[in-house]
């Protein structure tokens, strides 16, 4: 990997992010009665997209908003402008990553824009947008319990509807953070970019069809797992398996992901997350056993997301992750990112690193790769697993996801190899995904089972009365 490219300046990046920051800071104090400094931020956002098809609508939106006269459509236009700017940041960063990693990118498979998308639940979308607009007017410094709790009814109505799961899950996590931060007036620090991210994304997801990602093909062949990435907030969890897919027809291999997610009570954590997800993705067991899987006509989206169906997969031969990373990964092509997903936070590129030095910093270990320092985000390694910061620090090879946040690339370890008595031993972040015989793991599983048992018993007694 050309690590030097990861620390090089990316042309135009600072300018694009400055325009984003200007808008984000305007959201801190709210857009009900904007001050001159906020008007500058709004105008900066409009200027930044002046050469794009959004120009006219955003300029009008910025002007109306600066005058304190913004309607919902104006807020949508501003959210779109911000999303487009971060989309350009995503593209520039991804080009850089591809140069550094030196892997091919698959051809875009035609128009990936969401075409269909059921027109269901229009009024839930309207209710969500109305809440988001109230938030924008109040600003992060103006939030209180009454305003924030307005999301609960919308989320409750959306969650049972699988087609609305994306927006519901986002709003649920966002509202929980806002609730924990009330009242905004006394907040010491505001997560300025993060909340503006969540707000804009939610705004766009209230538009018809925005959240649909249909299958574009069925694929048959061999799936070689690289590792598991876990995401969670208090009331939702998702596990994503990153893998190399080799088509049975001998076509070019590609990078794919398989996901499983579920809403959850906030007291289900750690090993409880695996227990919740395990029954719905047989791939998690294959990951723990170190095996490949054979896929038969598995649907896949244009973005390379497998829409997993256990009936179309069976467990295959043993497949060692580091062998996959050394042999199959270098020629596996990545799929183009869907338009709405073009955001730096979405960048997660599988890489293999070897022969690095390890430096212990204040904020955890960093790898020294060809003289460049690459921070390692050990915090992203799931707690219910054998991979610890100490094991990462003592490793000699690492399969991970290259990510970008707050101005720098970071590495999320998925698995590491270390030498024990002259033999290479691999430790995987997702080793417990399918179950474990590890002593600490078994204890964690037992505690998690007890939690769900108690909740189910309580639910059985109290829910259906």
């Amino acid at each position: 990997m050309r690590a030097d490219l990861l620390t090089d300046v990316v042309d135009g990046l600072d300018e694009a992010l400055a325009a984003v920051d200007g808008f984000d800071e305007a959201l801190v104090d709210g857009l009900l009665r904007p001050q001159p400094a906020q008007a500058v931020g709004l105008a900066g956002l409009a200027d930044a997209v002046a050469g794009s098809p959004l120009a006219g609508r955003v300029a009008e939106a910025a002007e109306k908003t600066a005058a304190g006269a913004a309607g919902e459509d104006h807020f949508v236009a501003l959210a779109a402008a911000r999303t487009a700017l971060l989309g350009s940041v995503h593209d520039a960063l991804l080009v850089r990553v591809e140069e550094a990693v030196g892997r091919p990118r698959a051809e875009a498979g035609g128009d990936t824009a969401a075409a269909g998308g059921a027109e269901h639940a229009v009024n839930l979308h309207v209710a969500a947008r109305s809440w988001l607009c109230d938030l924008a007017r109040a600003g992060w410094r103006g939030i209180d319990h009454e305003l924030v709790s307005g999301a609960a009814a919308v989320v409750s109505a959306m969650l049972p509807e699988p087609g609305l799961r994306r927006l519901a899950t986002l709003l649920d996590g966002f509202a929980a953070e806002l609730a924990a931060s009330c009242p905004g007036a006394t907040l010491e620090h505001v997560p300025v970019r993060r909340w503006a991210d969540l707000w804009s994304r939610a705004m766009l997801l209230t538009l018809p069809g925005a959240g649909s990602a249909p299958a574009v093909a069925d694929v048959t062949g061999r799936l070689l797992p690289l590792g598991v990435d876990v995401q969670e907030h208090a009331t939702a969890v998702q596990a994503q398996v990153h893998a190399v897919f080799e088509p049975a027809d001998g076509g070019a291999s590609r990078l794919v992901r398989a996901s499983v997610s579920a809403p959850k009570p906030d007291s289900v954590v750690g090993a409880g997350l695996w227990q919740l997800l395990r029954p719905h993705l047989s791939l998690l067991a294959a990951v723990s056993e170190g095996r490949a899987m054979e896929l038969d006509a598995m649907p896949v989206t244009a973005e390379g997301d497998l829409l997993w169906d256990d009936a179309r997969a069976r467990t295959g031969e043993p497949a060692e992750v580091f062998t996959t990373a050394r042999v199959a990964l270098p020629s596996a092509a990545a799929s183009p990112t869907a338009p709405l997903d073009r955001h730096p936070a979405r960048i997660a590129v599988p890489v293999l690193l070897e022969g690095y030095g390890v430096e212990e910093g204040e904020d955890g270990p960093a790898f020294l790769v060809a003289g460049e320092r690459l921070a390692v985000d050990v915090d992203r390694v799931p707690a219910a697993g054998p991979l610890t910061p100490e094991v990462v620090a003592g490793s000699g090879a690492c399969v991970g996801l290259l990510r970008w946040d707050a101005g720098a690339f970071v590495l999320q370890p998925l698995a590491v190899e270390r030498t024990v008595r002259k033999k290479a031993v691999a430790v995987h972040a997702g080793a417990w995904a399918g179950g474990t015989s590890d002593k600490a793991g078994v204890r964690a599983e037992k505690a998690a089972t007890d939690t769900v048992t108690v909740l189910r018993e309580r639910a059985g007694r109290l829910l259906r009365k």
């Binding site: 800071e25 924990a180 579920a262 954590v269 050990v378 101005g407």
Partner: protein, 172 residues
């Protein structure tokens, strides 16, 4: 933020704002949360398996309330915190960490180490008033809503939004 330059945390898309809950045993207190300006939750009755108590303590004033899910007042919560409320505070400290509980309830804990005992003591020593139990119905419905999260079907369609919510080893 005076000079307009944002810190790394402020510029992060994936900054952790709310740490994950710490695992705890749920048998005694199946539900606890810091919400609506209160520490509130549901405590299982020690004697009747079909009964639960809805307990709460208000932030700032520590006004407390405890009643059954059928809205009968708790006999112990007269004059001061009953055992249900004490259990609730203890489990909140386990789940969220003492620091977050102290901050949310605006408790002034003398000395440096806050734990369930000192947090409870600091609140009791201000002789808080008994609040009305009007919030009980709302808390109980939030508990039922919480339980309903077990019933939703998992899905294998990707949720790209979860990229903003990385798991974290750090707990409350």
């Amino acid at each position: 933020m005076g000079d307009g330059a944002l810190s790394v945390w402020e510029r992060s898309s994936t900054a952790r704002v709310v740490p994950s809950a710490r695992p705890r045993k749920l048998a005694k207190v199946p539900f606890v949360e810091l919400a609506d300006g209160r520490l509130q939750g549901v405590v299982s009755s020690g004697s009747d398996i079909g009964r639960v108590y809805v307990s709460s303590v208000e932030a700032g004033t520590y006004a407390f309330a405890c009643s059954t899910n059928n809205n009968r007042p708790c006999g112990g919560a007269r004059g001061s915190f009953c055992n249900h409320i004490r259990a609730l505070i203890g489990e909140a400290v386990l789940q969220y960490g003492a620091e977050r509980v102290v901050r949310y309830l605006k408790v002034d804990v003398p000395g440096e180490e806050a734990d369930a005992h000192t947090v409870t003591g600091a609140m009791v020593s201000t002789r808080p008033a008994q609040g009305d139990s009007s919030a009980a119905a709302q808390v109980f419905s939030r508990f039922l809503r919480h339980l309903a999260y077990l019933e939703f079907e998992p899905t294998t369609a990707p949720l790209p939004e979860m990229q903003w919510f990385p798991t974290t080893r750090a707990v409350a």
